[in-house]
């Protein structure tokens, strides 16, 4: 939980240093998705740590301080914070991205064309990494391991959060549509303001997460079937790669959008939009799948006795409140 606060702080730092897109991603990822993942892992593994005599602590402290000291010595020659004459800002590439790219692509947000066009190969690789991580999580803890006679939803298992917290349910139902709509706004508005595929995907996943938290895994999986999500994960990567292949079929290089339509400026714009859409689909689907998988694992792990206890307590709470 302090971890979540920590990411709030770091996101506000990003705001202060003018990195709007990064702050938006960090807001959704750090405060939302990754905190939830940490919490569900802790819930599954237990979070009290046995006190034991420190063995490697001294060595670790010495190593950390030594490396830190070496790094500190290294910083003495670094350019000062915010200095405009730092090599990074003097490099001709930086000049090109800042001065030429808005004219060349007609997109005011410099981060978006840089992400999807100038560094398109790189981003394709990143999307593939996200894709692989999603597949990996599915392979490791899978959907619904039922081998030990685990609890099936038909056994009368009801997630009590929805019935117990009536206020929560109503408010969540009001809030989730704006969140999902807002995710689409971020996706579509990425050329003009902070936003784009990565941010939209994560915010969409955060909206699904809220639904998951309040209504439980089973109802959420009726809403969005895991099978559909698996198809979407692949679809996003296919859209991204497909744009590149279309470029090649039209005689250009892979991900060289200028061949798409006649007017170069429009072609680049369309290409970027299509690629961002692919990124958004994959990221949203992977994040939602990961959340579903963790939630399903947790539910299967915690067993019948625990659920019975939870519901008994919930009923008491409902009566007294």
């Amino acid at each position: 939980m302090l971890f979540g606060m920590y990411s709030l702080v770091s996101a506000s730092f990003f705001v202060v240093v003018d990195a709007a897109d990064v702050a938006m991603t960090e807001a959704a990822v750090g405060a939302g998705v990754s905190t939830i993942l940490m919490l569900s892992t802790l819930a599954a593994t237990g979070y009290t740590v046995r006190k034991r005599p420190p063995r490697r602590e001294l060595l670790a402290i010495v190593v950390a301080i030594a490396v830190g000291g070496a790094l500190l010595y290294g910083t003495l020659d670094m350019p000062r914070f915010g200095a405009p004459n730092a090599p990074l800002h003097q490099h001709p590439v930086a000049h090109h991205y800042i001065q030429v790219s808005p004219k060349e692509t007609g997109i005011p947000n410099m981060v978006t064309p840089l992400l999807a066009s100038y560094r398109g190969y790189d981003t394709f690789g990143e999307v593939l990494v996200v894709f692989t991580a999603g597949i990996g999580v599915l392979a490791l803890i899978g959907r619904r391991p039922r081998e030990n006679g685990e609890l099936a939803p038909e056994d009368g298992f009801v997630d009590h959060t929805a019935t117990r917290h009536r206020v929560l349910r109503v408010v969540a139902k009001t809030l989730i549509p704006p969140i999902l709509l807002y995710a689409w706004y971020i996706q579509a508005h990425g050329d003009y303001g902070p936003g784009g595929g990565f941010q939209a995907g994560v915010v969409l996943a955060a909206g699904m997460m809220l639904y998951l938290l309040i209504f439980g895994v089973d109802r959420t999986e009726k809403l969005v079937r895991p099978r559909t999500l698996e198809c979407l994960i692949a679809l996003g990567v296919l859209v991204y790669g497909g744009v590149g292949l279309v470029n090649m079929a039209q005689g250009g290089n892979f991900l060289d959008y200028r061949t798409l339509v006649h007017d170069e400026k429009h072609a680049i714009h369309y290409g970027i939009l299509a690629v961002e859409l692919g990124v958004g689909i994959t990221v949203a689907a992977v994040m939602t799948t990961i959340l579903f998988t963790f939630a399903g694992h947790l539910r299967n792990l915690l067993g019948t006795a625990y659920m019975a206890n939870l519901s008994r307590r919930s009923n008491q709470g409902a009566q007294s409140a």
Partner: protein, 91 residues
């Protein structure tokens, strides 16, 4: 003026952080985290105006929505944890 407000908000965030570190029960920590989130939303919008980058309001909006989801998640986690503890105590 924006800077003054931002500073005051930072002071408030620091106080909240102390409560989160001290807070005797889990619920105190959750409360502190919630306050911290609200203060961050305000801080981001103020800093957006300070830097004349008014698009930053978008980020404040996302924060307002997502810190809520996180609070709910932590509450659920506490409830699950309590229930599991008493389950283990009974068995």
């Amino acid at each position: 003026m924006f800077a003054v407000t931002a500073l005051l908000l930072l002071v408030s965030m620091a106080l909240t952080l102390v409560r989160a570190l001290r807070g005797p029960t889990m619920f105190d920590r959750i409360l502190a985290m919630n306050m911290f989130g609200t203060a961050t939303v305000l801080l981001i919008s103020v800093v957006g105006f300070l830097n004349t980058a008014r698009d930053l309001v978008d980020i404040a909006m996302i924060y307002a929505l997502i810190s809520f989801a996180t609070t709910i998640a932590v509450l659920r986690f506490v409830e699950m944890d309590q229930a599991r503890r008493s389950t283990e105590a009974e068995s």
